[in-house]
């Protein structure tokens, strides 16, 4: 079933709201004295910090330092410099995250129960300190412990990365000098790798600021027409995606999908492979292979139409709608290209739905639906990388083109060199099937989209596997309209592996340590949220149960996306067997389905109630050598605080009238 508003998340929000209102109503006096209360809370926090210190908190950064030292003396070489740094940072930050979460989670769960057991709460509770201050104090103290450990570990990590950086730089310089010497002596045909020199001078510890564009694989592109014509390459993994909104069907006749591709070469028989997916529930799919006729057309009707089409139940009058549908189309026929229209009008659509229930559409007299205009094409995809192939052997087929579109550029925000150029960095992978000995060269076309008088800048670039290629482009291309950068391999048998941020317009870099610090702060957000949950569960529970509760919260908080997808399907429909299964009408099937449906929804409410831990992802920026924007950090801090408040409210409501002895 498709809901535009998720009822379960509404229920969860309502519960949180009730908690907050109850908190404000009961705690307003305690909140009112928070002015002086903060220093009392910090007194509690200080003591908690000292306790953490006596619990050998200091040992963790020390062990960390030892690990860094050992690793530093036995640096694993053999990665490309960029990925080496990425591997280290991933390991370090993940490890820090785990150590801190586990250690401080345990301390948080122990803190209040232990005070209750040792009865120190009796002495403290007779002082003018409110329960809210006690709670906040515990969180502040452990938070301070987390921060201190984090900063200490950060410094060691940074020192270690400095050593790595130093090694990589000197290695790169040695290689560059060797290449240059060989080139000068004519031993080597290829000019020395500029990327090496770049690495040697700039190092790998960077926090780059750059602007990324929107990447689209143009497939095979022909600039002869306006707009350019795009082709899907047969026999490759290139896929075109057609997206349709909810499709209404009649019960008497069903809609079908109609395909119309331009064939190149014309008249050659071709086949397409279709995968239909219900977008709300990607587990519901149907696949088919269809032959195109000589004109490039074919029609296809799904076997189970009501997985994809909505209809009105004649008895109840209810609309049963599976929601939007996506068609993925590939062409398995070699040496064929399918021309794809941009889909802005009926005449240039490569796929439409015909025979829909016109009565349910807003426009009268129309019984077809167009997909979203300008369908997306992707190449071979793995781990977020896509591939574009080089030209055909004798040059009869052009290479595939990847196109980046940079919109809303602010020319002032982009630094220029003295001679009026701005810098573009190109980082892509190269795989070679033939011509292994030849270095890869790529063609880069840069032009401004709106001004035809502004000449296209064409460059031939030497591309090194995953190493920076620095490109200088004339300032005139930044004329306020969108900048288009097209890239293609020009060597036969060479693929370029690219992704959205493979082409970057460079801005002034930030400092690496600052970036590391911001990354650590995001870890801190996650840790302090867990601390809050731990302390709060310790208000009512003994420490073993509190630990278990906190663990469950963390795990469920990490399942956020998984559970929301799970909950889209209902009961046994999850298994996608409901429509044709003969058990469907049997009472125990229905009972089981009902129970599992209820369970999934309870889980869903629970997940919506608990803080979403998937939000905090410290790694993507720093491992990409990219500076984390303050906005991203701010959003994380804000999210952590927003999630902490209901947790603190729950803790307060539990603590408020609890006896302290």
């Amino acid at each position: 079933m498709h809901h535009s508003i998720n009822i379960m998340s509404l229920v969860a929000d309502a519960v949180i709201l009730v908690i907050l209102v109850a908190f404000i109503l009961t705690a307003f006096r305690d909140i009112a004295r928070i002015g002086t209360g903060i220093s009392r809370a910090w007194a509690v926090g200080r003591t908690t910090f000292i306790e953490a210190w006596h619990n050998r908190m200091w040992a963790i950064p020390v062990i960390w330092m030892v690990i860094c030292l050992i690793l530093g003396f036995s640096i694993v070489r053999g990665y490309t410099p960029g990925s080496e740094v990425r591997v280290y940072l991933t390991i370090f930050i993940r490890a820090q995250e785990i150590i801190l979460l586990v250690y401080l989670g345990i301390l948080a769960c122990l803190s209040l129960p232990r005070e209750r057991e040792r009865k120190t709460l009796i002495t403290t509770g007779a002082k003018p300190v409110t329960r809210l201050e006690l709670l906040l104090g515990k969180i502040m103290g452990l938070g301070a412990a987390a921060l201190v450990m984090l900063l200490a570990m950060m410094l060691f990590t940074w020192a270690f990365m400095k050593v790595v950086d130093h090694n990589i730089r000197s290695d790169a310089m040695v290689s560059y000098k060797l290449e240059k010497k060989n080139y000068n002596r004519l031993v080597r045909h290829v000019p020395p790798d500029f990327g090496l020199l770049y690495t040697a001078t700039h190092g790998v510890l960077q926090a780059q600021n750059y602007i990324t564009g929107k990447l689209r694989i143009a497939g095979m592109i022909s600039y002869a027409t306006n707009p350019p014509t795009r082709y899907l390459k047969g026999g490759s993994t290139e896929t075109v995606y057609f997206e349709f909104p909810s499709i209404p069907a009649n019960l008497s006749y069903q809609p079908d999908f109609l395909f119309r591709f331009g064939l190149f070469p014309p008249g050659r028989p071709a086949e397409i492979h279709i995968t239909a997916i219900e977008r709300e529930n990607p587990m519901v799919t149907e696949e088919a292979s269809v032959k195109l006729n000589a004109a490039g057309s074919a029609a296809w009707t799904p076997k189970h139409p009501f997985r994809f089409f909505s209809y009105t139940d004649p008895q109840t009058g209810r609309v049963l709608s599976p929601g939007p549908v996506v068609l993925k189309v590939t062409c398995p026929t070699f040496h064929t290209y399918l021309q794809i229209g941009d889909g802005t009008h009926l005449s240039n659509c490569s796929c439409i739905v015909t025979g829909v229930n016109a009565a349910m559409l807003h426009e009268h007299g129309i019984d077809y639906i167009l997909p979203k205009a300008d369908p997306v094409i992707t190449g071979f995809k793995s781990n977020g990388w896509q591939e574009i192939t080089g030209p055909g052997k004798t040059g009869q087929t052009p290479p595939e083109v990847a196109s980046w579109e940079f919109t809303h550029l602010n020319p002032l925000a982009i630094p220029k060199t003295k001679n009026g150029k701005f810098t573009l960095h190109l980082i892509c992978g190269v795989s070679k099937q033939t011509n292994e000995a030849i270095p890869n060269y790529a063609a880069l076309f840069a032009y401004s989209s709106d001004d035809p008088t502004n000449p296209v800048k064409i460059l031939k670039l030497h591309i090194n596997e995953k190493r920076v290629t620095v490109v200088q482009l004339p300032e005139r291309l930044l004329d306020g309209s969108a900048l288009i950068v097209n890239l293609s391999s020009i060597v036969h048998g060479h693929w370029l592996k690219i992704r959205t941020n493979s082409v970057r317009i460079m801005q002034k870099p930030s400092s690496f340590i600052g970036n590391l610090f911001k990354t650590e702060l995001i870890v801190f957000c996650e840790v302090i949220l867990l601390i809050t949950i731990g302390v709060v569960s310790g208000t009512a529970l003994g420490w073993p149960v509190a630990l278990l509760t906190t663990m469950c919260c963390y795990i469920l908080g990490n399942l956020f996306h998984f559970v929301s997808v799970l909950a889209k399907a209902n009961g046994f429909e999850l298994l996608n067997i409901v429509q044709e299964h003969r058990l469907q009408g049997v009472w125990y099937y229905q009972l089981g389905s009902f129970i599992s449906g209820v369970m999934v929804h309870v889980l869903e409410i629970l997940v919506y109630l608990l803080p979403n831990f998937t939000r905090f992802s410290p790694l993507p920026f720093i491992t990409a050598s990219r500076n984390m924007p303050w906005l991203f950090l701010g959003q994380n801090i804000f999210a952590a605080m927003i999630s902490m408040i209901p947790a603190i409210a729950v803790g307060y409501l539990v603590m408020r009238k609890r006896e302290l002895s």
Binding site: W42, T47, E51, H54, R118, K119, T123, G125, L660
Partner: protein, 290 residues
């Protein structure tokens, strides 16, 4: 704010500790009516398990009453603002084992929002006041002897210069000198116009310091009144003098018989062990100092 002159007032204060079964419930305190006047030293007596500690915890709002209510310094028990003027010495010294004496007092002083100078002054003053050996002050409390810990706990209770001091068995774990010091301290608090509520098993001490007392038994008040009312034997007269020769003794006895007095007892008065102990320690200390 203060309508009554009472520092503590309870009405029908009752505490039943809950239990899963009815038989597990404990009626620790039943309908207690107390009235402690300001500047009074009030004793709370009773055998083990009679509800003294329960009463004190109720007064501090550490536990919630099952029925009845209590006013402390004119406000309901457990009020945050009244806690500023209360000092509490728990029955056992529940302190953080990982802090040293100074850190401990610093922590509690911070809870009273004292600033740095005030804290330093109060800590130095009260550590000397309770006579904690300077050699141990920077050691963790976990390593202290029972009496040393007790002294820190006592300092903690006096730190805010409270108007009302509630002490649960203040002398437990202290040496005789310490006990005496506490007794003197309580008298000094009284002179300073403070109210003291204390529970104790040391009847002699209670006798020496208290103005008024109640004796609890199984959570109920059995005896209550001022010390004079309770201890004075109204129909008896005592005479003590020096230089009484055997002749005078016989004459006195004869005179008593003639006058028709009954239950006449004679003998030499004894000093109390406590006094001997104190005199000895005092003279030794004086000798050491010289």
């Amino acid at each position: 704010m203060v309508a009554s002159g009472f520092a503590i007032q309870t009405r029908q204060l009752t505490k039943i500790y809950p239990g899963f079964w009815k038989s597990q419930q404990v009626a620790a305190l039943t309908e207690l009516n107390l009235a402690v006047e300001r500047s009074q030293i009030f004793g709370l007596l009773g055998p083990n398990g009679s509800g003294k500690t329960t009463t004190i915890k109720l007064l501090l709002g550490l536990i919630n009453p099952t029925a009845g209510d209590a006013l402390v310094m004119g406000k309901p028990a457990g009020d945050q603002d009244t806690r500023r003027v209360i000092g509490y010495l728990p029955e056992e010294s529940y302190l953080y084992r990982f802090l040293n004496a100074r850190q401990t007092l610093d922590f509690y002083a911070r809870l009273f929002n004292m600033n740095r100078a005030q804290r330093r002054r109060a800590i130095d003053y009260y550590l000397d006041f309770v006579g904690l050996d300077p050699a141990v002050r920077s050691r963790r409390i976990g390593t202290y002897s029972k009496g040393q810990t007790r002294r820190v706990a006592l300092a903690q209770a006096l730190l805010n210069n409270p108007d009302l001091v509630i002490m649960d068995e203040p002398t437990s774990g202290l040496d005789p000198v310490g006990m005496l010091e506490i007794k003197n301290m309580i008298m000094r608090l009284k002179d300073a116009g403070k109210t003291v509520l204390l529970s104790s098993h040391q009847l002699a001490d209670v006798e020496d310091v208290c103005d008024r007392l109640v004796i609890l038994y199984r959570g109920r008040v059995e005896i209550q009144g001022t010390l004079n009312d309770l201890l004075e034997v109204k129909d008896t007269f005592q005479l003590e003098a020096r230089g009484v020769t055997p002749e005078i003794q016989t004459q006195l006895l004869e005179f008593a018989q003639r006058s028709g007095l009954t239950d006449v007892r004679t003998g030499r008065p004894r000093v109390r062990l406590e006094d001997i102990f104190k005199n000895l320690v005092d003279s030794k200390r004086k000798a050491e100092r010289r």
